[in-house]
Symmetry: C2
Subunit: 152 residues, 2 copies
DNA sequence: GTATATTAAGACTAAATACTCTTAAATATT
DNA sequence: AATATTTAAGAGTATTTAGTCTTAATATAC
């Protein structure tokens, strides 16, 4: 799996926040997010703390508190969230799990893989939370997905 | 990580076998493979058992025994090994970790992602063990990779 | 047949990831 | 000030993945 489950949770919560953001002045409680996404409240809290620390979200304690996007949804991209949660491994390490790659020591898959890897990174950099929120016609990201095609 | 460590071990051992196969009549001991690849012998044994069960490898017990490719290296592709070890999840599940995808219920990333996913699968189906063995000029797959760019 | 070399299989341990629970800190309302 | 609401932080548990170790089964050589 390219992304950790934690990372997917963070993404889904971020897209949900983006879809809520009309004025963008109000905070949404993590409880509300966790209810809508059907993710454990306590776990989501931990995940979102990472996003808050990396300043993609802002949080506020107490009544009427919660979290909100720190910037406009159109200026936060997929990759921002991935890097905040999963770190840079997607960029630095080979997604095939063969670290130590590079021009110095390309492995036998490098020619075929490096282009694909670049495409993935480019895609993640190009798509913003706003894009995802606008395109979520089915609410797929916003619910716990039902396994239609069972993968093992 | 797109592939499990177990899967990468299996791939590396398979490529090594492919590179050895001149006549293809002889068995290579798992001990020799594990020494060259610097992978734990016992663990590699378990991994290769999967490949043997799915008939990508043939094994033989006793003196002069070991494992060998069951077919010509040019007729076993990357995807064969991946499916044998990691199963079909790469194909059926979304590599982004969002199961339940498909035409019925495309998530907001589907347009961007499905093409990339297809490219990855196609690449894995197109490249054979022979290709990889021929292209391993640096022996990268055949050693425990040294982390040049440290990813976390 | 006895010893030796090898894979097969299963139980066990370790590490990483995912998840839960409790307590503390901050803020608002009264 | 007291209480309620909310995130922050940290300890603890569970599950999955990775890795080890022991024993069994199979084949060869003498
Ligand atoms: S495919 Fe490229 S990036 Fe990946 S291990 Fe090989 S050389 Fe490195
Ligand atoms: S719709 Fe496409 S991108 Fe979304 S989860 Fe399914 S396969 Fe993945």
């Amino acid at each position: 799996m390219l992304l950790s489950k934690t990372c997917i949770y963070g993404l889904r919560a971020s897209v949900l926040l983006a879809s809520k953001k009309q004025g963008g002045l109000e905070y949404t409680t993590i409880r509300e997010l966790s209810d809508e996404l059907e993710i454990s409240f306590h776990f989501l809290t931990k995940v979102l703390q990472k996003l808050t620390k990396s300043e993609l979200l802002e949080s506020y304690k107490g009544p009427n508190g919660g979290v909100k996007l720190a910037r406009d949804a159109s200026s936060i991209n997929f990759m921002d969230v991935v890097r905040s949660i999963d770190g840079d491994s997607l960029i630095h390490e080979c997604a095939l799990g063969l670290p130590g790659c590079g021009l110095l020591k390309p492995c036998p898959l490098h020619d075929q893989w490096s282009g694909l890897k670049m495409n993935i990174i480019t895609m993640m950099q190009d798509i913003t939370l706003k894009d995802m929120a606008n395109n979520d016609s089915t609410g797929h990201l916003l619910k716990n997905p039902i396994q239609i095609i069972s993968g093992k």
